[in-house]
């Protein structure tokens, strides 16, 4: 739990992301996407039952009875309404048919570009990251991309990425401290979480930010739904 609050950072981020899906037609989540998994699940329960949920397994609208630790787990391929192959889901992205996608980056810069490739110094590879999976295609071709990142510091939020793995239609960036949106090609603060301050966000962001309203807190209904579904606290796995 966050000090003096009845929720955790993971829960706060999940709810903040779920609320972004109220008017979404469809949403895609990829590999290693635990927080988006819970956000989509919650959005379908509370705000948007018709939301079409796309994932790597290819099965549309999975109905997992409990949350998997892997977001490519075969549990997601059970009890869905229809099947596509993974290639066909990427084809949907290429055709511009994805409304919302969740992506993440190790480095995220003031333009909303992100790096999941590597960091080099003087032309020599210093750190190899995981690779961006589908993000190079998905980011510029989805209508609204939501980036989530469980770390908010100056190593993560940089002035300029040392390598651009993906760029494109950034809609929101959700962190444990704040929410950004993209305005005139730059990331600006959309809201600051109630348990942090503008000063703290400034000190942990590698580009200039200005004040913003407070992010609304999760409701007890949102929290209890999540906690009932996830009795093993898998939602905390990214922290």
């Amino acid at each position: 739990m966050i000090e003096n609050r009845d929720y955790t950072h993971a829960e706060f981020m999940i709810v903040a992301m779920a609320r972004q899906l109220e008017d979404a037609q469809n949403v895609f989540m990829g590999v290693a996407s635990n927080l988006p998994f819970f956000a989509i699940w919650l959005a379908k329960r509370l705000y948007n039952p018709d939301l079409v949920w796309l994932n790597i397994s290819g099965r549309i609208n999975p109905e997992p009875s409990s949350p998997p630790k892997s977001t490519v787990h075969f549990q997601l391929a059970r009890e869905g309404s229809a099947s596509l192959t993974l290639a066909e889901i990427f084809d949907m992205a290429a055709r511009g048919e994805l409304d919302v996608s969740f992506l993440s980056g190790v480095q995220i810069d003031k333009y909303g570009n992100f790096n999941l490739s590597h960091i080099s110094e003087n032309g020599r590879l210093k750190v190899q990251f995981t690779g961006g999976a589908g993000s190079a295609l998905i980011c510029p071709n989805t209508r609204r991309v939501i980036i989530w990142r469980t770390r908010h510091d100056k190593r993560t939020f940089v002035d300029k990425c040392s390598k651009i793995t993906a760029s494109g239609n950034i809609y929101r960036v959700v962190t444990p401290k704040a929410v950004f949106r993209k305005e005139k090609l730059r990331l600006v603060l959309d809201s600051i979480h109630p348990f942090t301050t503008l000063k703290e966000v400034k000190e942990n962001t590698g580009f200039p930010v200005r004040s913003a309203p407070s992010t609304p807190e999760p409701t007890s209904e949102e929290l209890s739904l999540l906690r009932d579904f996830d009795r093993e606290n898998i939602r905390e796995i990214e922290f």
């Binding site: 290819g58 630790k69 490519v72 787990h73 075969f74 990427f90 290429a94 995981t130 071709n141």
Partner: protein, 241 residues
């Protein structure tokens, strides 16, 4: 190599490649972890082509892949998952390249040339065909001819089977042909391109093979706890994951 991350991967086949000290392999898949990490660890591969090489949040990054690329022993041809698929599709379709949609400012686009749309004015990225010598796939069931059934998600297995020159299958079970015929609509791998089919129960472990078994967090951690080449050799000798 078939499957994706820890789902229905040819893990036993990867261990056998390592045991036989195969060298200079080039491996590709959209998103990989255990099999590619192990092949890097065992110094079997020169090149990895993929969109993503890592475990997920439960286990963290793929340490041996990462180290091998950082110290220059392995070349990482970084793709987007879609450009892996496009390269395989071009091979499967018998054409030299596949045009693909806009990749924005991604550095991955710099690997590829652009061609003019002969029917319009714009330029389109062209991903060159990759025709693998082998597709190595782990399936639930195959007959002696290599006709094979896949249950659950196919990931890129079918595209790989179409794109490759030849196919090697490991199968949870080798069954009578009649059993495959009874499920012919699920038999997405026809036997005529299959060079070898080997019965390997638990062949995807420590990964999962729907609907028979889930991945084993204990076995994945056991693999990730190996710290040196000697440890890896002992791990491989026991011929279990």
């Amino acid at each position: 190599m078939g499957g994706l991350l820890l789902q229905r991967i040819p893990a036993a086949f990867a261990r056998e490649l390592a045991r036989q000290r195969k060298k200079h392999l080039k491996v590709m898949k959209t998103a990989a972890n255990y099999d590619f990490d192990l092949l890097c660890f065992a110094e079997c591969v020169d090149e990895v082509a993929a969109g993503f090489v890592s475990f997920e949040a439960e286990f963290g990054f793929a340490p041996n892949f990462r180290r091998s690329v950082e110290n220059g022993n392995v070349t990482f041809e970084e793709h987007s998952c879609y450009t892996v698929i496009s390269a395989l599709r071009a091979a499967a379709f018998g054409v030299p390249f596949m045009p693909v949609a806009n990749l924005g400012e991604s550095h991955i686009k710099d690997k590829f040339k652009r061609v003019s749309n002969p029917y319009g004015r714009e330029k389109v990225l062209a991903v060159p065909a990759i025709e693998p010598d082998w597709a190595v796939l782990h399936v639930q069931k195959a007959d002696e001819e290599g006709n094979a059934v896949i249950y659950g998600s196919h990931f890129e297995d079918v595209i790989m089977a179409r794109a490759a020159k030849k196919i090697v299958l490991t199968a949870e079970k080798i069954v009578l042909s009649q059993e495959i015929k009874d499920e012919a609509q699920l038999a997405v791998i026809p036997g005529f391109k299959v060079e070898a089919v080997v019965e390997v129960p638990n062949g995807a472990a420590p990964g999962s093979c729907y609907p028979y078994y889930d991945y084993s967090p204990e076995l994945v951690r056991r693999y990730l706890s190996l710290i040196d080449f000697e440890g890896l050799c002992q791990y491989l000798e026991h011929n279990n994951p």
